[in-house]
């Protein structure tokens, strides 16, 4: 395949940045999107240019490191995949592909396609945990049975990989799907109940402070989420938040 790539280049956080055109040829449909970028970078290095910076690590869809806004969609045109699992067979010979970073106020650009998602970490520091010490002197794991449905739902919420596609897809740059997933995981388990009130209040407060927008129930986040995290998690977080606010 021969392709034209239009890629966002930005030297650093202070640079203005611009789209730059690149031609690339002999791309196999079996390549992943990131492998296609590897080929481009090899070309750039060999011709004395600087390669395009992009985030990636596990390349099997689980670490949540890869990002990229491709032709106007987070993680590109395929559904239920991260960029590392997006394959070039999703494109046609002669295509022009637009590649941009995940844009959101709370995700400042570091360089080219790399953004800073540490705001997600800070939301977790505010309450994304159960306060149990790590000594191992806890009660036997089977001492508290958990309804299978709740356990399964908690697991589904917990499969969020923290990639930020929800934020990038949202017209308001809201982080409600991400935070909702984390709140839900603990809200559904008996272990998380004791500090449920503080957790949701603290996490939402931090989310607002980080500069994420509000949720207007557009649902783009759910559509673009590579792990199929459901909007139900936002609803559950809202219920938890309301209950906590009334208590508080």
């Amino acid at each position: 395949m021969n392709l034209t790539l239009k890629i966002w280049r930005q030297k650093n956080a202070n640079d203005k940045g611009k789209m730059v055109d690149y031609k690339i040829s002999d791309i196999s449909p079996d390549m992943s999107f990131l492998e296609m970028l590897d080929v481009l970078n090899e070309q750039l290095i060999n011709s004395g240019d600087e390669p395009v910076a992009f985030d990636h690590d596990c390349r099997e869809g689980i670490c949540g490191m890869c990002s990229l806004y491709i032709n106007g969609e987070a993680h590109g045109p395929d559904r239920g995949v991260t960029t590392c699992q997006l394959h070039m067979r999703m494109f046609n010979d002669g295509d022009t592909i637009f590649i941009e970073p995940f844009r959101a106020k709370a995700f400042p650009v570091i360089k080219d396609l790399v953004v800073d998602r540490s705001s997600f970490d800070r939301i977790q520091h505010a309450g994304g945990f159960i306060s149990v010490n790590t000594s191992g002197n806890t009660i036997d794991a089977n001492a508290i049975p958990v309804n299978k449905e709740n356990a399964d739902d908690a697991f589904s919420a917990a499969t969020c990989i923290g990639c930020g596609a929800c934020v990038a897809s949202c017209k308001n740059s809201s982080a409600m799907l991400f935070v909702g997933a984390k709140v839900s995981q603990f809200a559904l388990l008996p272990q998380g109940q004791v500090e449920a009130t503080d957790r949701v209040l603290n996490m939402v407060k931090q989310m607002d402070e980080e500069g994420f927008g509000n949720c207007t129930n557009t649902g783009a986040c759910e559509v673009e989420c590579p792990k199929g995290i459901s909007l139900e998690n936002i609803a559950r977080m809202n219920r938890e938040y309301l209950a906590a606010s009334l208590k508080g």
Binding site: R117, G136, A141
Partner: protein, 670 residues
């Protein structure tokens, strides 16, 4: 220096308890005056950082990713073992200990493995308390499954994403401590050297990967939880950033490197599709519970399948060679990883590989789909002779068990595994070798600890499934927090460690010089060019099977490649910015040294053990004819290498392994 494993005296079942009763403790008020550095935030590093902070030490944690949550432990799929015996099927601490030592081909340290088995049950309690959503049964209790090489169901799991859930558990424990100010977290930082003051590890030199700033960090002790070095092969199931740099720098500062040639080759990975490939994808070993592995019996069918004129599912049953079931009737498709991998290679080397490159075998779910379908039809009182119905019902069952894996396969290969057999081939997965540690998990450098995959102690020459997660968390949550306290009790009067000493200055200078070299050297080849070439040498000559000639060639080829690298490598960009090529250059430089030591270690070990198959160490006759031959008389030791400049000058130290509680036996899966 003689190796002292510091294994406590007394019966194996009492060693850990006695040890804990007699070590020195640090008073809580004094812990506040002690700093500990933890490098790496996967299962081992993350759990260690959280627990040390919980105990009251001041922890500085470092990872090269943008968040600890992305450490590669997150990619582990299958599960975590624990001797809970919830199923009442006869499991016990001893049995987990026994299986692990046997599965490791008797090349691990008995006392460490027993301790691992002993604390395993606590791990599950701890993780559940932290909100890790393990799979449950309808009664609300935890579910278990079984894994290769084992006769009990002791594996706890969270669908095919157990590593993710356990890592997020450790990450949340870290978050709590970061929120309390007890852990200072340094994301996107890479450790580039260990600093020793008066012979003790007292700090590290790091590079901030965003700004390029070189920083000095001091502490009373340094812990490495930096994972394995499988990326020395370029293609592996490891994350792209996984590297050996921290462990290798520790080695250069005096930490012995043990059994570098012990690599686990995982049998069920998606095969390589072309030269563009950047990494390999693992399909969980749990697939072998239901998938049958085969290649065609006749060469004409191999060719027809390759040419696309014959669909694999149309090949008659009698024309298929279910080679694992043929060779190993007792364990069949569930033989341990090293055995399954070698058998696949044997068939492909003989020309029976089924894809374009000739390096793939089939993993077929057709019989499982039919079996489950018939079962479901019977249960629901439907027609068991309705083939379409049976297939549909069977596919539903298989989807419930392995759906996420099947979907992943389909996305990558563009074939529907419900309707055509998957293609798989072995790939480099996990390294059992690593930094040598004693029973305290301390390296040969006082105050420098090494935990998880980065150390060598618990898995021997081959790792059983679901035991890596167990070791990472055992080390981090339950072992290191005790053993490091014993060491730190001597440091309560030391006070803060200055980073102005000449040792820090010199270490920083060396780091800077290397970085300066890379960004000013105007060579003609990219870093990847060298990494790929190293990978090819490693895979072809130091990979699944090895011989004297190949290993000797590999050593001189790696040496030559390294010399070329230092002349011709090209790193664009500057050192004071985010520069992925610069970071990679440093890592590949270390792989080029480790690779040679790896081959040297493989050359000296004239036996087959675990994933390490020496072509001249093979059973010649009897029931085990053609199988790997271990040599306990001459090689029942840990090979610990001391750095002396060039890898070829490394000096071998032997830690003789003693087996007092387990009899060394031939591993037979016939």
């Amino acid at each position: 220096m003689a190796l002292d494993s510091k294994i406590p005296q007394g019966p194996i079942a009492d060693k850990w308890t006695n040890y804990k009763n007699h070590i020195d403790l640090v008073n809580p008020a004094n812990k506040r005056n002690i700093d500990v550095i933890v490098v790496g935030t996967g299962l081992a590093g993350g759990s260690a950082a959280a627990t040390l902070a919980e105990l009251g030490y001041n922890v500085k944690a470092f990872c090269f990713q943008d968040s600890p949550r992305r450490a590669h432990s997150i990619a582990a799929q299958g599960g975590i073992n624990a001797a809970k015996n919830y199923q009442g099927d006869g499991d016990s601490t001893y049995r987990l200990f026994y299986d692990t030592v046997k599965g490791g081909d008797y090349r691990s340290r008995e006392a460490n493995v027993y301790r691992l088995a002993e604390v395993s049950a606590n791990i599950i309690d701890q993780c559940v308390a932290q909100g890790v959503p393990f799979a449950r049964e309808y009664g609300g209790l935890l579910d278990n499954r079984s894994f290769g090489g084992v006769l009990v169901s002791r594996t706890f799991y969270a669908a095919g994403q157990t590593g993710q859930q356990l890592l997020l558990g450790a990450y949340s424990a870290m978050n709590r401590q970061i929120g309390r100010g007890k852990i200072k977290m340094y994301n996107r930082h890479e450790m580039l050297d260990v600093v020793k003051v008066d012979g003790k590890a007292r700090g590290i030199i790091t590079r901030n990967l965003i700004t390029g700033e070189i920083e000095r960090h001091s502490a009373h002790a340094v812990v490495l939880g930096t994972g394995g070095y499988g990326n020395v092969f370029f293609l592996s199931t490891n994350a792209m950033g996984s590297n050996v740099t921290a462990a290798w720098k520790a080695h250069k500062r005096g930490a012995y490197f043990a059994n570098p040639c012990y690599t686990q080759i995982h049998p069920t990975c998606i095969p390589v599709s072309g030269d563009h490939q950047s990494k390999l994808t693992l399909m969980s070993e749990s697939l072998r519970n239901d998938g049958r592995i085969w290649v065609p019996k006749h060469m004409k069918d191999v060719e027809a399948i390759k040419a696309g004129t014959l669909k694999p599912k149309d090949l008659a049953e009698e024309d298929r060679d279910y080679y694992l079931e043929r060779r190993y009737p007792a364990f069949g498709n569930l033989v341990p990883r090293d055995v399954a991998s070698r058998a696949a290679k044997e068939r492909c080397d003989a020309g029976y590989g089924v894809n374009a490159t000739g390096e793939a075998v089939f993993l077929d779910f057709a019989s499982a789909i039919e079996r489950y379908g018939k079962e479901q039809a019977t249960v629901r009182h439907l027609d068991v002779n309705d083939a379409a119905l049976v297939k549909k019902l069977g596919q539903e069952v298989v989807k419930n068990k392995y759906g996420n894996l099947f979907q992943m396969y389909e996305k990558i290969v563009d074939q529907d595994p419900y309707n055509t057999p998957m293609m798989i081939y072995p790939a480099v997965h996990y390294t059992m070798g690593g930094v040598w540690v004693d029973y305290n998990l301390m390296t040969t450098v006082p105050g420098l600890y090494c935990i998880g995959e980065a150390n060598f102690s618990d898995h021997g020459a081959n790792r059983l499934g679901a035991s890596a997660l167990m070791q990472g968390l055992a080390d981090g949550y339950f072992v290191l927090p005790y053993t490091i306290g014993d060491y730190l009790s001597n440091d309560i009067r030391t006070g803060p460690i200055s980073t102005d000493s000449k040792e820090f200055e010199e270490a920083e200078k060396e780091v800077r010089e290397k970085i300066e070299f890379f960004v000013t050297n105007k060579g003609q080849h990219s870093v990847d060019y060298f990494h790929k070439r190293l990978g090819k040498i490693m895979w072809n000559k130091v990979g699944m099977s090895r011989n004297v000639q190949g290993l000797t060639e590999a050593i001189s080829e790696i040496k030559a490649l390294r010399a070329q690298f230092w002349k011709e490598v090209s790193v664009p960009g500057s050192s004071d910015e985010l520069n992925e090529e610069l970071a990679k250059a440093g890592r590949v430089a270390d792989f080029l040294e480790l690779g040679e030591l790896f081959a040297k270690d493989a050359l000296h070990r004239e036996e087959s053990a675990g994933g390490h198959f020496r072509e001249d160490a093979v059973e010649l006759d009897g029931e085990q004819k053609g199988e790997a031959k271990r040599d306990d008389e001459n090689f029942a030791y840990v090979a610990a290498w001391e750095y002396k400049g060039e890898p070829s000058d490394a000096i071998l130290h032997k830690e003789q392994l003693e087996f007092n509680d387990i009899e060394l036996k031939q591993r037979s899966y016939k």
